[in-house]
Symmetry: C2
Subunit: 266 residues, 2 copies
């Protein structure tokens, strides 16, 4: 077993509250990003606009240089989405290192229903990355990233669809590559936690139901649409759906059983 | 029926692609925000930090001044979350109108599996708001917002838990109020859409399954935890879960059946 790689802690990515829930380890942070169907990408449109912008994109961690790198090793973040020309132009025209962006995702795993609203919470997994985004210009790297991103939506889909993309498709597709500077994750799991003033109060405990409602993403029955003439839903799709549904449910239900750290127990 | 209120279109919130999917109407945008369990809030930490920050928060649209305002009327966005002291200090110290922020959320409703990766997509609903955030200092307004936010996690939970918050809880809770400047939403629904070069190619259509996999959020069986001594899960919880599960599923499955606009049909 090697050492655990962590992102550097700076002012911008260090947790101020519930520090035990925070992680700076590459592995868990990269996993949270890769599990997300959508990431939110923030950037500054320009000096005339006071507001940061956020656009939803698909993001995956990977290393084109070392394709066999594991999830807990240094990786870049590749982004694809309904990309406004703004972010692409900003990344294309950014001088030096690239466009400074923030990538974020959060997934709720359960509702924490405690005695009083102030102790309510979610079980959740969230992560952010800060880094510099630039356009992928190498055709081989772009193709590699397109395949990784397509397969993140549905495992093995790339090889089961019409590939490779033709010249027009390659030139109309823009992939952003983010050189990650730092990152952090936050994971809340476990059950309900309350304060003594409430759990010692019979009037309160006898009137309020407390517990956790697990929450997970469900994939439904595939609905045929469009021009494909394959009549039965292929096994790689049905098994992906079955596996994901089982995993998602097990994760949300399993999170409830995690024992809370001492500072939150009584 | 009155007129439909819309947000002003500016450079920062106007869609460049798939314009028919975009909406500037207050109603749909506010609904997408209110349906989200988590919103992502972006702000700029300061002149020394090149990166915008994103934090996950709980957000709800409402009007304290006109509490009976409907969802398609002008509303403020109220935010609560695991708030780093950074955003609160920035909002507290921001001069003039407040801290410029962006609020965003996206929900995937289905995987669009078309003939070729370039035509793959999601059914989804996303929305952003730009506005100026300031701290809610009026106690009555803060209490009203806390109740609205708690009940957005689980309908009627506020009145079924230990309320009102005591003095310590009121002072430790910080609520941000966002005066909305503009906003936009994007909704993609319907089935699969491909290009002629693929749907006219028997070799392609006979080998690729095309269709939509609906995706929705499922609430599981509540798991008792903590100090509440109510033995049976109360009806307001079980019925909320049953209703949400039915609604979420119907929305994802219903989205597949929406007829695509002419420009995407063939």
């Amino acid at each position: 077993m090697g050492r655990t790689l962590t992102y550097p802690k700076g002012v911008s990515n260090t947790a101020n509250r519930y520090k035990h829930r925070a992680t700076y380890d590459l592995g868990p942070i990269h996993r949270i990003i890769n599990d997300a169907q959508v990431v939110h990408v923030s950037f500054n449109p320009g000096p005339d606009d006071p507001f940061p912008a956020i656009i939803p994109m698909i993001g995956q961690m990977g290393s084109f240089e070392y394709p066999s790198a594991s999830i807990d090793e240094p990786l870049e973040c590749y982004l694809h989405g309904y990309v406004s020309s703004r972010i692409m132009n900003l990344a294309r025209n950014s001088e030096g290192q690239g466009l400074p962006i923030c990538v974020a995702t959060s997934k709720v795993d359960g509702l924490i229903l405690s005695l009083t609203p102030n102790s309510h919470s979610y079980n959740y997994r969230s992560a952010i990355l800060h880094g510099y985004a630039s356009l992928v210009t190498d055709e081989e790297e772009k193709l590699w990233a397109m395949k990784m991103i397509t397969n993140s939506v549905l495992e093995d889909r790339w090889d089961h669809s019409r590939v490779p993309p033709d010249r027009a498709e390659m030139s109309s597709t823009v992939i952003l590559k983010v050189r990650v500077v730092d990152g952090s994750g936050k994971i809340r799991d476990g059950g309900v936690s309350d304060e003594r003033k409430d759990y010692d109060n019979d009037q309160v405990t006898s009137n309020v139901w407390t517990g956790v409602v697990p929450v997970w993403e469900t994939f439904g029955t595939p609905v045929p649409s469009g021009d494909g003439k394959v009549s039965d839903v292929p096994e790689y799709i049905t098994s992906y759906i079955a596996n994901k549904n089982a995993q998602n449910r097990a994760l949300a239900e399993g999170a409830v059983k995690v024992v809370l750290p001492a500072e939150e127990q009584h």
